[in-house]
Symmetry: D2
Subunit: 343 residues, 4 copies
């Protein structure tokens, strides 16, 4: 099987290479870049010297069509455009935000740009793997979820779907390592100003917010604007979403525990840590796991759910490969069977 | 003026020395330790070599009584005990949690130990400087607030006092650097396991929770159990409290801005950053400032307040000296006029 | 094939588990601990929850003998003692320093304790894989090199063996992440005092010094006391050894380049980066690679060699498994074919 | 007294403001920038909100002449040019590298650009304070030393001047925090690629090398090309220079100790830690101290000297103010009497 990676020099791209290079079903990887064609991957990333011997090509739809699967790890707007140009049989996994929102006007409002075509938006399957497995099996265009959205939605799915909380009361306080901001140097992620520092940003304005809300609406059949606050942690990888909502009447701590276990115990990449046992971000470092802990405070009646992922893995390239496995009928864990690197 | 520091080898103690050493009103500092008597401060902290020439003495009440002010930077239980042994005229500033809670049973429930005597608890003035200035002026025993409580309360005070939110709906998601955990090495704060990692701990169980609730009750005349979640950030100093509550009817974003400015603009150590402008922890590094930003989300009707401090300064020793200044009639900023170290 | 890991709760132990768990030749892993018997690995390391289902047993020689290979990741003195108690057929890979030095008196002088028995010292093969492959193939007791020694010796081997420098002039300035200091919390590696800090320690006194000298002597047939200075970097993993020596007459930069390539190009885990191209520690993160760069300064006539490894991999558990592969006739890269995690 | 800061938005500039804002002799600070005129300092650096109320002006020589002292914290080439345009009476303290090297051709060779005019180079006094106090007293144009040069030269001065080592044998292995690379974001100092990483760069090619050699030549009357290797540490501030050279015959460890103490004990900002006692970088954090430790290895006959500074303080703005104090006849420590922030 042949895989193409477009935008291979970004962090999503190099992480795809790390996974696919050893993936048993992938025979051949081709890499593409709009700006660094002719360069080898090792020039851009010396850590793959002597291991990955790939040279970046320029992006041509006909060349992409020669692959069984095309991963798009590209800036906003590119995949909306490029997806239209590929043959209808080419399976596409899009890691950008272009195809995640089904409503064009919601996209425009949050992304401040025009959305992809209506038909493309409808064709794209939202790849939150654990909750869309059937659709993913038959997807041709897969839209891979955002990193914050993945951590938040996996944590909130059980309580939203089973009405254990009123999702319009949901508050998500999220914290991320800096790789979520990509490889382009910026003042925000300049080492001298990020080290030994903790920042909050885009309060109520992060693009992953409507993605979370869209999925919650699918599950609850009601619109629930949520409060979503992202923060930057002085670390490289990892997201923790700490979520709060009042527990609905009739639910106990034990019910919640049973609910999470019943829904996730057969999913290999979600590890329910259980009541009062909370994960740290490094406990999933370099892997596709999402670890979830929770508790109920009897004094306030509020439920707290904590969900952690590696933003470049389950939050991006890991989940993309997990989706690829399902789209092509491979075992879900194929090529993703890493143990977290700790410490 | 003569100052004694008991427990001088902890982080609160050495930070007191950093401030008091150059404080214009302090002529003499004496340092005490229960375990390291006879050692010099420079042996324990080489960074003060040739600057601080103090030798640790053992703790004797009569020696402490020779000082105008005694700072207690001691483990749980010590100050409850030691305060009783000092003369009634000796002014005490207690940085521990022993005297913060007025209800003995609340103390026992959260600290899992017996509280100080009723009379001591009642005598101790809670030193959240900006909100207790008058009582602090005449205090003999001052109980210095907890680091998380300081960040949270300074951020929440205006909206609580003016009923802009229902405090029983308050959710506080707090993040701290590791120095809050003290100088004793532990698995939790071992560099190899804290670096590049983000942790949540003591969910709904942190000792600063009742301290926050007690103060909110004073301000609102109603009990409001709050949700308080502390997290550990891989950084040395700094706390950020991100707080959420639905805005009450009749309040606008502009009202909130006006409220914060009207209440804090005459307080030298609180910097209101204003609407949609949020501070990062490093922007107060090494200083006594508390910086506050906020916004209102029209989609959800929720107010978000972000408050940052340096946990060892405004969250401990800085506020302690600010309180000392007020107790002794000095200018509030005396000896605390630092510019944050950045970057 | 069955592997036993003694001292499985240390960083060397958990890293062995990370590798061996997916190693194609290992069917069964048993873990042992002197202090945590009865505990599961996941209790000690939550990141392996649901992945590694092993319970720690107490250390009994007869149980160890049931395994094809026994890894000893134990404190000083344990393996010297335990190795004697195992059957002569049990293959042992010792990650401690007990069996590295061939001269008992050198061991005593540097380790401040009595050495293992003479016969054990002589029987143990020093496992610097790239340079002792033949002996390793037939080794029964393998002494795995120290982390600093590995980085230093792989970098210096070509120039020492081919007399491109006078090894008695060799200066090694080494820098390590904190995991080299192990899992026990200490003042030195307390996050609050290690973060944003850089330390030098054990100047001219580190135990890996005689190990480096012993190997240099083997290669050059002369005693060469070297200058070795270890430093602690505020990072989790990684060692960089920056090495200096005057280049001998007759050698050019190009000669050096050719020498390194000729000696290492057929070794899968050494990547010669070449003249004026230097590796950073993160470029080998999580892998068994040793990356080497070098240059010659024409102004001073000095050669500079920079060698980096991941101290827990090529500096400990990775090299241990590489040695196991060779001892058992497996392909050298078996189970070690990771791409570095970057960033 | 009135001070102007040109290039106030860089790290050198904001650190000057931190010092001068509270300096007893400075009544007035004016700030200049070539690119951000009209902006306030607080817009560029929110941490000085409400403290520093300065607006950046554009750079006009006549306006600069109105100040008693002009600090130039500017990119290469600017001060060579600007210094010519200021009146001959205006005292200038140049933090750039433009005026450090006395030989125009050496400058051109290392900086790859034309040097300042011969007359300017000769007029500029090299401000390594402890060793040029007399010239500094009468300096009109002061060239402030480089950060690496300061750490290296203060550490090596005693042994060079007293011929305890042959300086042509000197090897300097230096490590720096990232602020030395300035405020402009870059791939090298992007948080995601610098965190948990350790890098070596500009091996034998760093611009501070000839500055070190020039000073050594002044002291020893012989040319001594040195080996100088800079490294980047994942920390914000701090430099450690670890230096190696064979001890000359006739010198003992005790002699060295006596030498350092005799030369530095009357200098307030150099703290000799003494034999076998080595400083960590954080022990001088935020201050103008240079801490020095050393040892002699009897096995190799080599001396090791370790010198640490805060690169933005003694390595830049702190030493600049120290020099200002001397140029204007103030006490050397005026305005610099900080205790290191630790932890």
């Amino acid at each position: 099987m042949k895989a193409a990676i477009v935008g291979a020099t970004g962090y999503g791209g190099i992480e795809l290479i790390r996974i696919l290079h050893n993936h048993p079903k992938i025979e051949d990887i081709t890499v593409f870049s709009s700006s660094q064609e002719g360069k080898t991957m090792a020039e851009s990333y010396p850590h793959v010297s002597e291991i990955v011997k790939l040279t970046l090509g320029d992006i041509q739809p006909e060349r992409l069509n020669e692959h069984d699967v095309v991963f798009l790890s590209t800036p906003p707007g590119v995949s909306a455009d490029l997806s239209e140009k590929l043959s209808a049989e080419t399976k596409i996994i899009d890691l950008s935000g272009d195809l995640r929102l089904k409503q064009a006007e919601t996209y425009s409002a949050w992304y401040q740009r025009e959305s992809a075509s209506e038909s493309l938006l409808q064709k794209a399957v939202y790849g939150l793997t654990e909750w869309h497995k059937e659709e993913i099996e038959s997807a041709v265009i897969l839209s891979n979820p955002g990193c914050y959205a993945t951590a938040s939605l996996l944590g909130a799915a059980p309580i939203a779907q089973y009405n254990a909380v009123d999702t319009s009361q949901l508050i998500i306080d999220a914290k991320s390592g800096t790789t979520g901001a990509g490889r382009s140097p910026s003042a925000m992620t300049h080492f001298s100003e990020m080290n030994d520092n903790f920042k909050v940003y885009k309060v109520n304005q992060h693009k992953h917010t409507p993605e979370i809300e869209q999925e919650l609406e699918n599950w609850t059949n009601k619109q629930s604007p949520v409060t979503f606050t992202p923060h930057l942690v002085p670390m490289t990888r990892g997201i923790m979403a700490t979520m709060y909502a009042p527990l609905q009447a009739g639910w106990s701590k034990d019910d919640i525990e049973e609910l999470y276990h019943s829904l996730y115990d057969n999913h290999p990449f979600v590890r329910v840590r259980g009541v009062d046992t909370f994960p740290a971000t490094k406990e999933v470092y370099g892997t596709n796991y999402c670890d979830i802990g929770f508790t109920v405070d009897e004094r306030t009646g509020r439920l707290t759910v904590v969900s952690v992922i590696d933003n470049l893995m389950k939050g991006a390239s890991g989940q993309a490969v997990q989706n690829m496995n399902i789209m092509f009928g491979y075992p879900e864990k194929e090529g993703l069977d890493f143990i977290p690197i700790y410490p």
